[in-house]
Symmetry: D2
Subunit: 361 residues, 4 copies
Amino acid sequence: MLVVMQAHASEEQVRAVCEKIDAAGLRAHPIPGAERTAIGITGNRGEVEIGLEEMPGVAEVIRVTKPYKLVSRDVKQENTVVHFPGSPASIGGPELAIIAGPCAVESREQTFAIAERVHRAGAQFFRGGAYKPRTSPYSFQGLGEEGLRILAEVRERWGMRVVTEAIDNESLELVEEYADVIQIGARNMQNFSLLKRAGRAKKPVLLKRGMAATLEEFLMAAEYVMCEGNYNVILCERGVRTFADHTRNTLDLSVVPAVHRLSHLPIVVDPSHGTGKRNKVTPLSRAAVAVGCDGLIVEVHNDPDRALSDGMQSLYPEQFDELMSEVRQIAAVVRRELPYQLAQNRRVLGTPDAPATAAAR
Amino acid sequence: MLVVMQAHASEEQVRAVCEKIDAAGLRAHPIPGAERTAIGITGNRGEVEIGLEEMPGVAEVIRVTKPYKLVSRDVKQENTVVHFPGSPASIGGPELAIIAGPCAVESREQTFAIAERVHRAGAQFFRGGAYKPRTSPYSFQGLGEEGLRILAEVRERWGMRVVTEAIDNESLELVEEYADVIQIGARNMQNFSLLKRAGRAKKPVLLKRGMAATLEEFLMAAEYVMCEGNYNVILCERGVRTFADHTRNTLDLSVVPAVHRLSHLPIVVDPSHGTGKRNKVTPLSRAAVAVGCDGLIVEVHNDPDRALSDGMQSLYPEQFDELMSEVRQIAAVVRRELPYQLAQNRRVLGTPDAPATAAAR
Amino acid sequence: MLVVMQAHASEEQVRAVCEKIDAAGLRAHPIPGAERTAIGITGNRGEVEIGLEEMPGVAEVIRVTKPYKLVSRDVKQENTVVHFPGSPASIGGPELAIIAGPCAVESREQTFAIAERVHRAGAQFFRGGAYKPRTSPYSFQGLGEEGLRILAEVRERWGMRVVTEAIDNESLELVEEYADVIQIGARNMQNFSLLKRAGRAKKPVLLKRGMAATLEEFLMAAEYVMCEGNYNVILCERGVRTFADHTRNTLDLSVVPAVHRLSHLPIVVDPSHGTGKRNKVTPLSRAAVAVGCDGLIVEVHNDPDRALSDGMQSLYPEQFDELMSEVRQIAAVVRRELPYQLAQNRRVLGTPDAPATAAAR
Amino acid sequence: MLVVMQAHASEEQVRAVCEKIDAAGLRAHPIPGAERTAIGITGNRGEVEIGLEEMPGVAEVIRVTKPYKLVSRDVKQENTVVHFPGSPASIGGPELAIIAGPCAVESREQTFAIAERVHRAGAQFFRGGAYKPRTSPYSFQGLGEEGLRILAEVRERWGMRVVTEAIDNESLELVEEYADVIQIGARNMQNFSLLKRAGRAKKPVLLKRGMAATLEEFLMAAEYVMCEGNYNVILCERGVRTFADHTRNTLDLSVVPAVHRLSHLPIVVDPSHGTGKRNKVTPLSRAAVAVGCDGLIVEVHNDPDRALSDGMQSLYPEQFDELMSEVRQIAAVVRRELPYQLAQNRRVLGTPDAPATAAAR
């Protein structure tokens, strides 16, 4: 159910409707829009018969027939733009979000070397796993909190916002504390307990599509996060599993316009996991931007051959520079912007090691 | 790495080897066999060079080249048979394990009505979800601990061992307390935190194959549980996701002989989720037993049309009787047994409501 | 559209209805049943308004809403049983059809050696490719007409009916001449020209499911054959393509009861292509019979390691003996029969090389 | 095997090598390159030991280890560019090939109306099926030769080269006569008889990827055409079949750079079949060009709602104008050109109906 308020409805009227919904044992989700506020109702089974239509300020009460409600464009017309306090970076707005960094945080030295390069190339976000979900229990599982501390230093030094994965409630608590975006990985897309916990977090959530998830399941997973009250969800296509064996996964770019049609949430694309092959990352990044995605999440490593995980799909820093330059041109065609690339002028200025936060924009 | 002890090695010798392994910062997994004990080593990277070959009682030290170690038949020749204290029921032995019950525990009344019927038909295990991972946050999520209490009553009254799903660490703790087998669902097959927690539990784990999991990933998930010390893992094929749309999932029966070839662990088949259609459950149950599975997990409901979840794939109790009778005959051909069916003689004796635990075998 | 005749309708009345249909530019397909005749109408778009209801002997005219008509059980209640003139063998009746032989006819010697063994084990049908659709143009493409001649000799000598693949109109013409069943391979399941040509042939057609064919597409391919007038179609499940990599294809046994529910056509299972691995063929054969299939098509080779194609999935003759013995017991449970196995008594009689045609049953 | 000639080798030397190969019962495929000629050898099993190394003009004889030979970039470094006599259009060169038109040729009127529009928008190629492979035998199967005649008129009038599908040897003969490119559809990708026949045709072949074809199978299908002597093969990605249900097929854009890496053949993308939804065609067209494809094949219909096939995925002519304008900008970024769009200036000139062949470039 969705309550659409009149254009001139007052804040008090909105609050009164929310209170009535809550009093009925349901949950109200006020969603302010450019013209008027809508209030999503969750927790009900079937129709809600508590006389909301008659309340002051209410324009109409409509039934949402799709299984997902809060993620639906029916409920919120305007695109969701995720903002970050103290940073000009955003996800879902006119600027493409570029999230780059190593698969895993391996050491302070490695992480800084990569951060320096991706920041110079124009990335506003830094990625790197401190908790790694690995197929084998005997593979490197990440540095844990030590890794998070390194990531926080990266933010401190270069001003990039930090995206990193949480794999359970314990790690989520720490990720929420140290990072700027809480990533939920493909293997946990239907770990509903974790989704609910992420829904109670105060930081935005980047939700990766499961390997065999339909679009509806993907949106329903986002709904799990949103119905707990966290409306800052960023979807991420990272390839699905098919019979095709020339890439590690099959990147399903058609899901980008499909998400934009059904939902107001932003969607970014991960061409690194989506292909699993270094030489496919840049062409598929161009394609992802051309199809209309809201950003890219790309693995970059300063020494991919010795990476502790996913080296095969990590770009060399030079390749990432190249990717950024190609993507920038495609972005212009689809009327998206990319932040200013620091590479050239910084080299000219000869200050490669100075803290860049202030100068970054 | 695997240390194979001599046939006549003493317990002390085994203990000494384990201590040396642990002292080296690794983990020893002693695996007693019919003829001699083997000791799996985990926690190492590459070769282990601590002079184990020279220790008394050691026959040889061999390198395990497969990515999975403890689940591998290389490490343990004999089939793993999971036993249940105080019950003649087992999984992996000559007797087929029949696990039956509703998708979800909905009420004491519904649960008892179904338990009565499946017990009569010969099921040694009762299934029923107290915690339900649902695609939608607005669907029935299970009764929680109340459901677990009802399941414990079922065990009390009919002597069936209880199998139920845990969806996170909190529910796992309770499931471990109330139930006999901890089920990890398909969506959590690569929830590695949950697998590790299950590996520290004192109860056997039934691990369902993920919707898009390869055989290797499936076995590696079991390895996660085992390498924490819980060797009682039961695998479960429940259908994989493909393009085919005449069933909800595509039941991959070839995985049964494939698992038996590579691993000593038992594997049961879930024809209910594997097909998603009531009329396919019995034929695929026959096929699963014929292919050589160690048991079946089947959804039965006394009123499927009003079930709160998965009604479409739940059998009527009469259909389950029929299934048991057909499966019993197939089992005989593949040299497996099924427990004695109580239905007929109980009807004759006219005591349909008497507690059956004592008389069950 | 389907015209259902009255139970006592005369042959003349049936003929009159067919003539009226043909005269309207449509096509009549009379389908005699146990109780009464039905007449399928194809070639129409939408309703057929030519006054058929009023004709003598007509009980009712009903609209078939499924996209397939002639394959549908709505049109013909009784199972289709394919018979072979001069042979007691059949497909779709109470006896399971066992079709065995090499992937390809390589030589007279190899073919005879295998024929001798599979005949002794009880196969009523012999398979072997004279025209091989190979992924590579540089692989062995079959002996062509020479291969067909060898197959005809096999029929002559052992009385087995011959099943072999046609890959185009030219080969189909020859296969129709020499063989007893025209096989259409998985890669040609939607080669509609070939299907139409097979529909005009005078021999039964064994139609294999395409690697990515839905059930509806599979049935529609059979409809292509039937609507040209050839009603003797045998369907064949041979595995579909999925992400799973422990077998060459994923054998979808659920399609057997699904076909039986929707169609009157028989369906056999190919566990050789369905798994691609010798050690999986026998377990999956047991499963296929248990699920209710109408027969098996199995690759057997006297020297699989030197086979010119598909050696990895071909059984040794001894393994086929074992398969037959296991399958015979499962068949009994599902109330199907298998022909008498000649092996034992022939050994006793000491006449392993004598022509067996006469004695075969 | 591949014979690499010296840079200065004479035509006679090349001919002598070819003759020696042919005389040995094998087949020589001379492949002239920018710097020197290579000669592919097919028909051999294993090494070819006929003393080619010693012949005048031969630089070296190398073994091709990939299963495909003639399609391989190992054999031919330079991109294959397919040219059309009497037309500036090409496929595989710097200019993107735009192939547009209706799914099926339904009538002269419909076809001309669409041709007028796509020509104006800049398409150099016209598509339209005269022979339609349809899932149902009762669906519209195409106008046959009448359709081909209409297509030939389109070429006559607007100068666009014609691409149309052949479904068997008979239709291929006619398509070869009337059209400029012989399309082999996805369902026939492994119809090896048809591929061989296409390999003997004098016109280029556009080969669509099968619904479940791996990259290797796709390239091997092209090899079938090439090894018969037709080296003008254009590959086409048109989506593969997966579990995903938000589009009709899953468009696998990663296959474009994968083909370019392994093969010298051009590859175009079909976003119409690749998505099955009108609103996805333009975004995926942008993505296809961005990923680096050599052209697009797009369905356009003047009245999609009444189209006899595939109306749901056909663009309105206005949408195709828009697509061309967006694709033109992306093309510039990846350094590809698009032909001059006639739309604007023609409107200005007020001559929408005049034959455009002469003015087209």
